[in-house]
């Protein structure tokens, strides 16, 4: 009996937990049923975590609210239910179908696998990150500072300190924005690579020129 309880505890420990956020009660119930029904087709064991702590979160909410919920519940991967034409990563289309749900859950499981988790970058100061794709418009919320930070990260792998130097923004704000992007799997760890364009320009493209252009356009230096 004691041995059986030990085995059960280990199995539960190895299971990934899928939480939901912002879904209707009916849809949450459907997800719960799918997790149970899809179990034979899944490469990793999953359990439905509902509103509790989870490894992955399936959300239907504004990106930032979903990211906040994801962090609060310890989720390492965040996915959305919605319009796949938006092209967001890990988007599950409606109506929820078990075959697509199973494929989606397997993709999420791959990202949670121990080897991937070990390689998953944090936003520690020494690690540089670059955008893997331009963020959803809702994440930038027409805020010029966010657009600037994203533009810099689209071009070069930077850490928070480097992003602060590039944009002139507060390092803490840069770090928080990078964490937000990280929550949406929009960043990839990369080595900083100097652009060849700067070296090939006929005249030095330096801070002096760029600040001069900014002043001429009425932008903050």
């Amino acid at each position: 009996m004691r041995y059986s309880l030990f085995v059960v505890r280990q199995i539960v420990f190895l299971m990934y937990r899928l939480g939901v956020h912002g879904l209707s009660e009916a849809e949450a119930g459907l997800v719960r049923a799918y997790v149970a029904l899809a179990s034979t087709g899944l490469r990793e064991p999953w359990t439905f975590a509902g509103d509790g702590q989870c490894d992955a979160l399936l959300a239907d909410d504004a990106p930032e609210a979903a990211a906040l919920a994801s962090r609060r519940r310890g989720a390492r991967v965040l996915g959305f239910v919605g319009d796949t034409r938006l092209g967001w990563a890990d988007m599950l289309p409606r109506p929820l179908r078990i075959d697509e749900f199973e494929r989606w859950l397997n993709r999420i499981g791959e990202r949670l696998a121990p080897a991937t988790a070990a390689a998953a970058p944090s936003t520690a100061k020494e690690v540089h990150f670059r955008l893997r794709r331009w963020p959803p418009a809702e994440l930038l919320r027409s805020q010029p500072d966010r657009t600037r930070m994203a533009a810099a990260l689209s071009r070069q792998a930077l850490n928070a300190a480097g992003l602060a130097r590039a944009t002139g923004l507060d390092e803490g704000e840069c770090g928080r924005f990078m964490q937000l992007l990280q929550g949406f799997q929009l960043l990839q760890a990369a080595r900083p690579v100097p652009s060849t364009m700067v070296a090939s320009a006929p005249a030095p493209v330096g801070w002096t020129l760029l600040r001069s252009i900014r002043r001429r356009l009425g932008l903050s230096a």
């Binding site: 331009w134 533009a151 070069q156 480097g162 100097p194 700067v198 320009a201 002096t208 001429r216």
Partner: protein, 179 residues
């Protein structure tokens, strides 16, 4: 005195001339003729180059070049891109296949994108909301690109300034990466 340049490209009617006029300190030099293409509903179209001008406080000049929009002038695109600070690709979301239009310019500047800072400005989203601006990001991601994509109205100076600001941010990132 040194001259620098930023390139504005995109389809006929995407707003290149308008964008340059929004920020240029002088009326842009425009090389328009009567449009003979009945599929494009505008009376004039650019067959040479537009250029606008900004004089910087040290005397240097920033030229804003608008490329001709027709694909038959694509031989000019690479020539104009040489030594440019960056490229603005303007897309008209009211056209039948704006994502296809974007592909044309990504292909046309394929040798320069990655080397040059680049930003995509999508116009007329208010009246034509599909494809959504995020679909452009997805299309770029499919090509392995993470270029900035902005919803803009090039008649508004602030929007054109934001496009240029986005190029400048990329150049500033380059400078930080070099140190």
């Amino acid at each position: 005195m040194t001259e620098h340049k930023i390139l504005f490209t995109g389809t006929v009617g995407a707003g290149k001339t308008t964008a340059i006029a929004s920020v240029s300190e002088v009326p842009p030099v425009v090389t328009d003729v009567v449009n003979s293409d009945p599929s494009v509903a505008k009376p004039l179209t650019t067959v040479g180059l537009d250029f606008g001008l900004l004089t910087l406080d040290n005397g240097d000049r920033l030229r804003l070049f608008g490329t001709p929009g027709q694909v038959r002038f694509d031989f000019l695109w690479q020539i104009l891109a040489r030594h440019a600070l960056g490229v603005v690709i303007l897309v008209d979301n009211s056209r039948p296949d704006p994502l296809g239009d974007l592909s044309v310019y990504l292909d046309g500047f394929a040798g320069d994108i990655g080397r040059l800072p680049c930003v995509v400005g999508v116009g007329r989203l208010l009246s034509h909301p599909r494809p959504h601006v995020d679909a452009y990001a997805a299309a770029l991601s499919g090509r392995g690109l993470a270029l900035p994509v902005l919803d803009v109205d090039v008649r508004r100076r602030d929007d054109v300034v934001l496009l240029i600001d986005t190029l400048l941010m990329q150049l500033q990132a380059d400078l930080v990466a070099r140190t």
